[in-house]
């Protein structure tokens, strides 16, 4: 479904993403992890058109999309969320999502946009009431709204820049389950970016690990978590936690 080849992004002399290639199959959830500044969000920004790659190709459903304008990519079937939720405060919650339903799906009709908004809000568990504003939402609510906006654009591939840092453990689990439900019920392929390994490992089919803009490991969660390079390079000081996550992943894989 998505094939990325030799992707490079330089900002002046700094190479944020260096020759990264990967593939995503239809219907899978690919986890993308790495420490802060490892290039995860930069890759997302290139996939969604917010940044133009310095080099490399991005092929989605057989079409080259590298360097296309964001609205074209969104309309072509890729939806994205931002790491820090970016709601539109001057619109109501419903309008936020209806906007995405209208412009993200080829501007058909207001009715279709409203239907898409209702469906997306219900999917993430937010009220479909037309008058509620966005200012009353907490961290978890804003993440849900962000997800609803992305879903309303009708994506085939969802780029979920989640970073669940601001959430408590229960909310993290809920968010992880929600992503799995989105894949299972709507058949949407997902790339999920996350800092915290444990939650992610539980849900994803495959994991890719980045460090300093380079891909250092890729494979099944259990294998990646046990990869000495991942433990050493990526999580070095946090080896115990990584081992725990690896053990957890192995145990689940065994079940």
């Amino acid at each position: 479904m998505l094939a990325v080849n030799g992707l490079v992004k330089r900002f002046g002399g700094f190479t944020a993403v260096s020759n990264v290639s990967f593939k995503v199959e239809k219907g899978e959830i690919l986890g993308l992890i790495g420490p802060n500044g490892s290039g995860k969000s930069t890759i997302f920004n290139m996939l969604s058109g917010t940044l133009v790659p310095t080099a490399g190709s991005i092929s989605f459903d057989g079409h080259e999309i590298a360097g296309h304008a964001p609205h074209r990519i969104i309309n072509g079937g890729i939806g994205r969320t931002f790491q820090i939720p970016r709601p539109f405060h001057r619109l109501t919650m419903f309008e936020n999502v209806a906007l995405a339903g209208f412009y993200g799906q080829g501007r058909h009709s207001r009715k279709k946009a409203d239907e898409a908004a209702e469906k997306a809000l219900a999917m993430v568990g937010l009220p479909t009431d037309r008058h509620a504003g966005v200012d009353g939402l907490g961290a978890a609510g804003l993440k849900k709204l962000e997800l609803a906006k992305a879903l309303a654009t009708g994506p085939k591939l969802l780029l979920a820049d989640e970073s669940l840092g601001g959430l408590d453990e229960q909310e993290m689990d809920q968010a992880a389950d929600m992503l799995r439900n989105i894949r299972d019920e709507l058949g949407i392929t997902i790339i999920w970016v996350e800092h915290i390994m444990g939650v992610l490992m539980r849900v994803v089919d495959r994991v890719m690990v980045l460090d300093h803009g380079e891909k250092i490991s890729e494979g099944l969660p259990a294998a990646v978590a046990a990869d000495p390079r991942v433990i050493e390079v990526y999580l070095g000081t946090d080896a115990d936690a990584t081992q725990a996550a690896a053990g957890e992943a192995r145990r689940r894989a065994g079940n």
């Binding site: 609205h71 970016r86 619109l91 906007l99 412009y103 906006k149």
Partner: protein, 320 residues
């Protein structure tokens, strides 16, 4: 909702009937000016309300007025053709200036500065081509000797009042149509966060260009009408930075986010300018701009929603 439409219908009927029962020419003259400027201010607010603060609208107004008048005087082209041509000219100018701004993300203060330059350039062109435009001394469309309708020149105030009223209503209808469209969602989103709007599928550049184009076309029409009504235009009255600033001032004083805000702004600016003119005569030339400046600062600090916006907000609180 129905009572609201009824109120609009009654108000409009009263405004249409007015010149047939009340014929005091000076007051009708003031009303025509208020209606034409209200339309110009409404045109500005169509983009201004979304944070696209333009100081170039004096330029669009000047293009509307001068292109129409020049075509009539030099080529004998009727304003019925000249006005659409002048609007297209202003539209092209708007796109030429706005496209690079929007494409390369020139926003906020930098956008204001680019548009400010546009006002200045149009003013310079008018003064520099004084052999054709009369320069800073001003310009008068030739009096028609034939068909008044063809020349769009009318001596009676009632006709002009009705024309201005029609255009003013059309401006409000356009304002409301945009207010209720998905374009408003898109523009509100863009004004808050362009990347997030694009991630929702909005073609940011195209949406901004669309709203800018509508605003520029309407403003050129206002300039052309002002020219046809006054039969005298000068760079100071229909073009340049002073006119642009006056638009910003009037809209902010009246209320940027309500449909009738610009109209309230026009009533205030014109009554202010007229009372200064009558009260102090030639001694007060330019005072209105000084008063505008001081009031603008006070309003931005203490009443950012403008007079009408603040009143409506109070009423809403009381209801709730």
């Amino acid at each position: 909702m129905n009572s609201r439409y009824a109120a609009w219908a009654i108000g409009l009927a009263a405004l249409i009937a007015l010149p047939f029962v009340y014929r005091e020419p000076y007051h009708l003259h003031l009303l025509v000016l208020i209606l034409i400027w209200s339309f110009a201010y409404t045109s500005w607010s169509i983009m201004g309300r979304f944070g696209l603060v333009s100081l170039g609208h004096g330029g669009f107004m000047g293009v509307g007025a001068y292109v129409t008048a020049l075509l009539w005087n030099h080529l004998g082209v009727s304003p019925w053709i000249g006005i659409p041509v002048s609007m297209v000219a202003a539209g092209v100018l708007a796109l030429v200036v706005a496209y690079p701004c929007f494409r390369f993300r020139i926003t906020g203060h930098y956008f204001v500065l680019v548009t400010l330059a546009l006002s200045g350039i149009v003013l310079q062109v008018i003064t520099a081509t004084r052999d054709y435009t009369g320069g800073s001394l001003g310009y008068t469309p030739n009096r028609s000797t034939g068909n008044k309708l063809w020349a769009l020149q009318f001596d009676d105030k009632t006709t002009w009042y009705l024309i201005a009223l029609g255009v003013w209503v059309a401006g409000l209808v356009i304002w409301r149509a945009i207010d209720r469209s998905m374009s408003r969602y898109a523009m509100e989103a863009i004004s808050e966060d362009e990347d997030a709007a694009a991630a929702a599928g909005v073609n940011v550049t195209a949406e901004k260009l669309k709203i800018t184009l509508i605003s520029a076309l309407m403003t050129a029409l206002a300039g052309a009408l002002y020219c046809q009504y006054q039969m005298f235009i000068s760079p100071d009255t229909v073009s340049g930075i002073a006119v642009s600033l006056q638009m910003v001032f009037a809209v902010i004083v009246g209320g940027l986010y309500v449909s009738l805000g610009p109209t309230i702004g026009a009533i205030i600016t014109i009554l202010l300018a007229e009372s200064l003119r009558i009260g102090f005569g030639t001694k007060a030339v330019g005072w209105d701009n000084l008063v505008y400046g001081v009031l603008l600062v006070l309003f931005i600090i203490f009443l950012p929603k403008g007079i009408l916006g603040s009143i409506l907000e109070r009423l809403k609180w009381k209801k709730a």
